[in-house]
Symmetry: D3
Subunit: 286 residues, 6 copies
């Protein structure tokens, strides 16, 4: 049996490796809904901060957007599987993400003794988007990440603040865009030169064949990730996550991880123990 | 007739006086609703920034909160003239203030070429509140400003960012509180050592007798402001604004201004011209 | 009619553009003699400083040198149109430029609330000259600018001082040289990476044909400036000014301006209004 | 059973508390002799460093001094229980402490990936001693700590180096003095404003009655520590350790710990777990 | 006989004592006229700079002012022994001091490889004067030092420049004042916290009885200096020098020296050798 | 005869040249044994420090190692002229060098008012060695310098400390290696970008023919030094010194000096006088 000291000593090489480095965490799924898991993720993030790592948290929405829309009497429309986001919908999305989810995460982190600062992509023009053009019709304010201006993130992490970023972007005329939070995390990881991108999901990791739970991929290079996207082998929900990993790796992030956010303290286990969890994507040369 | 050069030369003593100083602007009323006025205030704030002043913008909500509440089917309740803010209401207040109003101001400022960063009182524990206790009944999440932690504001203004602060505060257990935006502005002005607090209102200024439009007070000291509060001479809407001025002045801010936000570029006129506008409140010794 | 606020708002893009940038102003002609104009130029320079621009002022002499020479009983000699500057003359030139004109400008700027520091080219070896060789005879201590050592200027502007530089240079053996003040301004603008060089003159600007006052050139590129020098199209008094613009532009300064210093606040109008004044010279690619 | 994540989460409040703080560790006893324990202490110190704490290690000699003396043919003499340290003995003491023990600790820490720098009290006049005067006779170069000059320690810890200090001090004429390593640790902890002083010993902690192993004192204030010294209740070997705790606490260190260095990773357990180990001494008010 | 090494070793305690300290040197008398002595003083000042001391040079005029005045046809008038300085005279004084003497010293220092920067009391409002009121009549622009603003001096010495200050001051309305250079040196020494004030004179030092060359005072405290002024025991030419010493000492400068500038390298001998030269004035307690 | 002032003035160009530069001094031979010479070297090093130079002292052992070995009963063995250094010998070497010689130098420098800090090659991994492989047999812990990590040296000299480095290196597994002190000095000079390497020896300098004392080489380039090594023309004791010079020069050090440490204050004479002493080695292009 491991004593507490054993655990800490096992973690030593990881403390050493990530000392002073930035780790971008994409927070979502069950870990964002279940109160116990939520609390645990906040402890994990605070712990990263206190052992000298510089975490940046990126989050999207969740069921809260749909709930509010329903309450306000809106009916969702879809084009090619993507939600049509008209101006009224965008307003709701932004209120929920930047005004509710973001600030609630900030408050939870502050309760752990951290100093979190919530940002949307509008703050200091952090995330600049362009409109997504779908061949199947106008999607409204659905955008794609065009550029990340990381100045404000670097300033905050250097001074010991934990940035919490919601996936709302700013368009060329100051308008809001709804962008994919996984993509935001990938672009931010690349722009700040993160040592790691960790994406919390609701599955164990990536399966070679997603009908076969025994086919979990523990470790793959970026070329295989690209291949899986090309051949459609990846499960639909995993596509933006794989894309985020590819963006990050091409931007110089050495390792990206898809891990199971339903597992208590998955983040700590991934970062500080020898025990492999989830799927790691790394550069082709690594 | 004044040439452009005359105007700039008239402004010279003011440029000199406020060079490198912080000016806190409470933004509200019509200037927040009328699109032209809104645009003008944003230009004014950007101009302050570009001539070497460090503006901090504080805003409350506006009619948007009530509109959203109605749309969601909520009926407001009042106790002693104050809106009872239950948890559901507080959530709406926070979404509107921190997710909609705040981010829309940030986007407008960024279009002027500035780098604005939106904050709520939760970010970096900026505004700490305690529950307001009313003798007439429980008001729910209505709070009073207990403390301002100005570290994040000082960091941002030193680096050339413009902080935009919404009047949501954090309570002892991380819960959200609805606090008066004038009060927030007064406390922030005191905490950062501002050279000025300017409150935009929908009236010309403070009247000695608010039924007599010819009784505008151009200049008064803090003792008279306190007297007006004590004797009930101040118009109800002006009470929190006067309180904010008193908080600021007691905290060391030399001058506070109540000016008419309906007037185009009232802020610039107040700060950069010899033309007196609105009501100035200053320390007793000044 | 423009209100003061309109003027300030019109100036906003210029405040933004020049925020934190260095502007080199060559001060001379009537603006240096007429007391009212002098006062106005000092206000303009102080204003540049207070709106966050970093001005550097370069000046030559004026009628004061000749006046002192006459008073001391010296008779000027000329060779090929250039004044022969023997040791005694050089001493007078230096006393007037560095001891009288320079310090009087410094005092006027200080009265505007600025912190000006007068320098000659000897201070910290700021302007290094070599002897000018004329085919028509020995000119004595007439020099050409060989190099500018901008360290002291950068230090002073970073700390908020306004450097005022007189056109006396230091030679290889520590001797003084009389150098052209326009040339000094051009070399300094290039050496400090100025955003602008503005030369105050006693004419409206540059004329395509200097006998025809309707032929004012509003805007031209550096190639045309070189062409005018080559073909002798430029008025004799404008030659060193054009040369200074070319030096500055080749050294990376994007825009140079020849403006009419007899016009009140010409400097402010040029920098902060949409109204074009004088002649602008810019790089060929611009 | 605790999972690794549980252990880390239990450590979170301690990571938070000691983030960026200095912890002085007095290293001695079996932990300095047993190879496995030695390796573990080095891991523990490296871990402190990597989780953002700033450790300073203080060590004395050990059996190595006596061994070398014997090998060189010296016979120890004692006066009142203290070893008489003549010049030759002092030379041996210094060679062993500063040349062997110190450098071997440095090398072990470096193998853990740290950047350790060995210092004796002579380096940068770190530890200044005066001669100890014994009523029973001349003790030679046995000294008492007179002053600590902590400048070099502060410089090194700020830059991420781990100072390793041997208990040799410098006298008024540059001569070497043998000083008690516990005392050195206490003085250094006070001088650098440490958050903790941890003294590794070969016993469980301090016993109220040292013949009764069930009388371990878990927690006591400084007044009781002083009382125990006065009344002679403390075991002889514990006297300098208690004195060091008192020096540190009077110098502002909030907590001192006497812990059992024979226990694997005692240091980590003391600092990062809820499990109390050894004896804590704290200020009277705490 | 001393070898070069002996000399350097004798200087060691002085190098140590003045390392990084400011020494103010009042330069005047024969050392300012004789070419060989002048060159030697410049070497001495450069040497101070290169061994890590921060010299500030203060100078007045000399025979050059009178010479220029005569050349320009002015006849000096005196009131109570002080030259009446009308506007025309002041202009000449300023031209000579700030434009000729100052810049010539700067050039000589630069030839020694230093980076000297000439300043008059107008630059950055360095020396502020008020008009001197004489009971015997109006003296015109003769002023007394009212205040020194040492900011620019501190900036320059920190960056390794050698400030050279001429004794022209700025009055309340920006007008020039002729002030005593000894007084300027005393005030500057006090304002910058100099370690020494050294005044070069044309006599050996101060005599107890100035008719008796054997009565040289080697060392006296400030009380005796004040006594000598009160009783009129000091030679007339020494009065302002003694006053400067008193100003400096009251402002915290530990030691002031009146030394013989006619003696080659008197400055080096005073500062770097054990050989006492001239008269030292020190605080009463010293 | 030279006066003290003459000596200082002669030194002025050298003060200027080395201001703020690093000079590495290899200390050894008689200057390390003779008490008077030792004291003088310490004065010289302190003097370098106080005149703004940044000295680094490198030393080896000397007769003390052999003395201690004998006292402990060890008999030296040699292979191909190199001492076989088994583990026990290495321990003695390290104790003497890092614990005795090093600390004694530190104490002597501190008595001169300096702040010296002793380092061995283990501290902060300063000197990394690999095992020397001799064709004639195993030499044990005799190493060759593989790499110098100069970070700690740069930190210390910038803050005004004088590093004193003993020639013990750290091997790949943290083991100690005995390395040649001349080689260490050469590598350190190259790694810190020294302006000079000065090696104190017991001879006058390098002789073209070491049997002919009149053949002293005053000045040679690195090509000739390499030639002398290749042809075996250099005296055996000079070989590592010449190698050190070559390492330093190839690493960018402009000048290296072999000087006679038996001569009082040889270091000062070499650095601060026009008098050439010893042998200078410089780059081929110089």
């Amino acid at each position: 049996m491991q004593t507490p000291a054993d655990v800490l000593i096992e973690a030593l090489p990881y403390f050493r490796e990530f000392y002073g480095k930035i780790v971008v965490v994409k927070y979502g799924g069950n870990a964002m809904i279940d109160e116990t898991l939520k609390e645990q993720v906040m402890q994990d993030i605070a712990l990263l901060h206190y052992v000298g790592i510089r975490p940046i948290l990126v989050h999207g929405g969740g069921p809260e957007i749909s709930a509010l829309m329903k309450q306000m009497g809106y009916e969702p429309t879809f084009v090619g599987g993507l939600r049509v986001t008209d101006a009224a919908t965008m307003e709701i999305v932004e209120m929920v993400l930047a005004g509710k989810t973001n600030k609630s995460i900030v408050a939870l982190l502050n309760r752990q003794g951290a100093q979190a600062v919530g940002l949307s992509g509008k703050d200091a023009n952090l995330i600049v988007a362009c409109k997504m053009h779908s061949p199947k019709g106008d999607l409204g304010y659905v955008g794609e990440v065009a550029r990340v201006n990381p100045g404000i993130l670097n300033l905050l992490v250097e001074r010991g603040y934990i940035p919490v970023v919601s996936s709302v972007a700013i368009g060329p005329d100051g308008e809001s865009y709804n962008v994919n939070a996984d993509h935001v995390a990938g672009h931010i990881a690349a722009a700040v030169g993160a040592a790691k991108l960790v994406i919390l999901t609701d599955v164990e990791g990536l399966y070679a064949d997603y009908n076969d739970k025994s086919s979990l991929i523990v470790d793959m290079d970026v070329a295989r990730a690209e291949e899986m996207l090309r051949t459609g082998a990846a499960d639909r929900g995993m596509i933006p996550k794989l894309e985020a990993c590819i963006t990050a790796i091409e931007g110089g992030v050495p390792r990206c991880h898809l891990i199971d956010g339903r597992k208590p303290h998955a983040l700590l286990i991934e970062i500080f123990t020898d025990q492999g969890i989830g799927t790691m994507v790394h550069g082709s040369g690594a």
